[in-house]
């Protein structure tokens, strides 16, 4: 078991989940509640990473954040370091790639809520934020938590985007999936099977939790 890779994988999964929770909740709420006709374009953009090969997304992120790009130059000026082949780079790739895996369950949770309850809260004088805090969140938390769990699990298994944007630098960008790939390349099947088994058990447990939360959310 490659422990630095395991630690890095958990670190990136945790950071990705936190960031996606922060940007995914407002985006999902807007997608669930908005009646704007052009909403489908935003929905398509959010869902794009589901159908796009990770290498394609990784390639574009690499191009968009490279030292010749506007984003890459701005980042380098601000921080003194480069995005590609760094932790920040793979974090950016991971956030973009996992966006639909967070936003879609969040949106489903908000959309399944009875909208009358929100309107009833407004008519009782509560603000939009107060309504979100006192009515929407308590009624949707199972669905939101299921989204968080799925995002975390999906990030753990990240491979294509991370390899394209981060390469394979031990302790910096080498995650568990890349470690398995390395082991197989060097014919170290024992290590590869151990790491794979850990990932299978972890993914199975997480899916059980997500299914349980989803069922609980539907029954309340």
């Amino acid at each position: 078991m490659d422990w630095p890779a395991a630690f890095l994988t958990l670190k990136i999964a945790f950071a990705t989940t936190v960031i996606l929770f922060a940007i995914g909740i407002p985006l999902a709420y807007w997608l669930a509640m908005s009646t704007w006709r052009g909403k489908f374009v935003v929905e398509a953009v959010v869902a794009l990473p589901i159908v796009l090969p990770p290498t394609v997304l990784g390639f574009y992120i690499l191009m968009a954040t490279g030292p010749q790009s506007v984003v890459g130059q701005a980042y380098e000026q601000a921080t003194g370091s480069r995005l590609p082949f760094s932790f920040a780079g793979i974090l950016l790739g991971s956030v973009l790639f996992n966006l639909p895996f967070a936003v879609r369950p969040f949106t489903a949770a908000f959309a399944s809520m009875n909208r009358r309850l929100i309107e009833a809260s407004w008519c009782l004088g509560e603000t939009r934020w107060g309504t979100f805090r006192r009515v929407t969140l308590p009624l949707c938390w199972h669905g939101l938590l299921a989204g968080v769990v799925l995002t975390f699990a999906h990030t753990i298994g990240e491979f294509g985007v991370v390899l394209m944007v981060g390469g394979n630098i031990p302790g910096v960008t080498r995650t568990l999936s890349i470690s398995i790939y390395d082991d197989v390349q060097s014919l170290n099947y024992t290590s590869a099977s151990q790491t794979s088994l850990v990932l299978v058990l972890f993914s199975f447990t997480v899916l059980c939790i997500a299914q349980m939360l989803g069922r609980k959310g539907r029954s309340t």
Partner: protein
């Protein structure tokens, strides 16, 4: 227009159908206007426009001298700013809150002791005391209706909007509450706009009846 609710507005549906509302009634005392019409004629939409939950396409709504909506000047006050009470057809009780928490929901700005006292008083008044710690799904349809009405009236709204308040009840209970509802509302001395498709309900409760026709 001080002391009156004056509403003259139009709401357009995506398919091209329009509904029109012309309404004038006292705004500072007990008075019930019933909007009556068949299902699908836009009764609930008109009520939602009065509440601020939907924005009409043209016209204006003025309540006791205050402009709530004006299409030309683009004024549109939110439901929170209008100080209305809205009783939804399905009551819209919060399923994760107890009966007492539901009733006290709109009183967050007052101290909890006073809130508890007011909740207790109105629960006695509506004969639903003893249900404080139950959840909405644990009480009957008639009790849910009373909880919902208590939740709205405890805030002393300036205008009460009722969307088919008795339609979710069985015939026997509807008959009973039809007789009691006007008395309950009179005690609070506020203007009421109610929609229904039931002519008997309109006759039993209304001071003024406005008949709506489909696509008018």
């Amino acid at each position: 227009m001080s002391g009156e609710l004056v509403a003259g507005f139009e709401k357009h549906y995506p398919g091209g159908a329009k509904i029109r509302c012309e309404l004038r009634m006292p705004a500072t005392r007990f008075f019930i206007t019933v909007l009556i019409g068949p299902s699908g004629c836009g009764k609930t939409t008109l009520l939602r426009c009065l509440a601020g939950l939907e924005r009409p396409n043209s016209g204006c709504i003025v309540f006791d001298g205050a402009c709530w909506f004006d299409a030309t000047t683009r004024i549109h006050r939110s439901p929170q700013d209008r100080g209305i009470g809205f009783l939804f057809q399905d009551y819209a009780l919060f399923p994760h809150l107890t009966v007492a928490q539901n009733i006290g929901y709109g009183l967050q700005s007052i101290p909890s002791d006073e809130r508890r006292k007011r909740v207790s008083t109105i629960m006695s008044q509506f004969q639903i005391d003893g249900l404080e710690s139950r959840f909405p799904h644990q009480v009957s349809g008639g009790q849910q209706q009373r909880v919902s009405l208590a939740r709205v009236l405890i805030r002393k709204p300036r205008l009460l909007l009722l969307d088919e308040p008795l339609s979710a009840l069985d015939e026997e209970l509807r008959e009973l509450l039809r007789g009691q509802l006007r008395g309950i509302l009179r005690d609070f001395d506020i203007p009421v706009v109610m929609v229904t498709h039931d002519q008997r309900e309109a006759q039993a409760l209304a001071d003024q009846v406005v008949v709506l026709r489909p696509n008018e």
